[in-house]
Amino acid sequence: MIGNFLLYIDPGSGSYLIQVIIAAVLGAAFFFKNLWWKFRSFFIKPKKKPSEKNDPNIP
């Protein structure tokens, strides 16, 4: 029967591996996102948005 194996996992062990995998994926995503921002800021100097330049409300 499909899914029968799920009946025999205790709540802890059943999700151990999944949590390890998700944490790794999220960690990798975080790492590459950081890397991308570092890479981007190295080549592209942060520009002021036109609205910020012209907005008389911003001192």
Binding site: I2, G3, L6, P11, S15, Q19, V20, A23, G27
Partner: protein, 464 residues
Amino acid sequence: MIQTSPDDPIWSGYSRDPSGFMFKLNDQYYRQVNQLYAGDYDLLLSSGLYHELSGKNMLVSHEDVSGSVPGTPGYYRTLLPRQLPFISYPYEWSPSQLRDAGLLTLRITRMAMEKGMILKDATPFNVQFVEGRPLFIDTLSFKAYDGAGPWIAYRQFCECFLFPLYLHHYLGTGTHRLLGAWPEGIPAIQAARMLPGRSRLNAGAWMHLFLQTKIRTDKLPGGRRPAFSAVHLQRLLTHLESILQKLSTDNFSDKGWSGYYEDTILSQAYLAGKERCFLELIDQLPMASALDLGANDGYFTRLMAHKKVRIMAVDADWQCMETLYRSLPGLPSRDILPLCLDIADPTPPGGFAGTERKSFTARAKADLVMALALIHHLTLSRNIPLPALAAYFAQLADQYLIIEFVPLTDEKAQALIRNKDSYHSDYNIENFESSFSGYFRIERKMQIEQTGRILYRMRKTTQS
């Protein structure tokens, strides 16, 4: 030794959690903490977590009454928690209520980790709504956390909060009926079968839902387990939190009753007239609680929000209850509890042996019961005879009933019987009044201007 109340089997000292149980004594609910839980209970207090959470109104506060109320053998402490006026269940909540309960659970887990503890279970039954806000009520759900393991309640959290909310996000079904069918959570495999194909493209759904259907845990490496830490867990919790915040809790494409009052032109004059009558009928009425049956989007519930009355608003249409729940922050009183349930089929008792959770009827007592524009639906559409309705409303009302009679000649009543061969043809004002007179005395009746509808205020004459 604890004397439990024999007429209240739910609180007879039975609990699934070996850490302790609830019991009722002299009309107060107590919580016994068992010896088994002593270490974790002491840590909850000594770490400052209890004070932080209860101070922020996230966890129910309690008083330690061990000195005056000793427990059964093996007991460690007796607690007198803040008494809650009404207990509701996840299968009576609108999607936003479930989401807010889930967010509270995650936030508490993160705060607990900072104090070296974690939640050992993550079921929405641990959350109640008090004055429009979720409150965690299980003081015994906390356990010490070594900062290295994963979250033991992760799968339960997914099955009870995340999967119903994903299903709602993609299908717009509401969540209460799903949790009625699976009160202990929807298994990943079942949720995966119901979700549309495009949900597989969603990274969050793929990781937290579809992955669980792919990984066979019997392939787990024996002995050494892959490394895991608190940092990983924090990341996981933050991810769950951001998913819950992004998931849609509305879907108003399938229009239920939520536009009833706004939609019909007839309503404008009718509504204004009904509001005047209603305000006159409730003026100076002494009451502490009210139950609005068939509340729609809570128009009349909200009219009472300036009174110091605790209100339960009930409607079978979850969209109406969702609208009402979202409107609470802007009201003068937030002491309004929206509940998605059908009066023709109210929540039955639940849990093991049918004694763990009470039926709606057993919980819902109120000084005032309101049934506005409701009984024609129950009698003409749902075929519930007037005497049966009168008996049921008398069971729910402690003192007063404000009820609207919609005559058979009314446009809306006609619409209900247009295609019906058989209905209760004795549905008329004489039978209505005589049926309700068996339990109530009619105090006032007011015809709503420009309609044949009549608003009654009745006072209960029988004891329940």
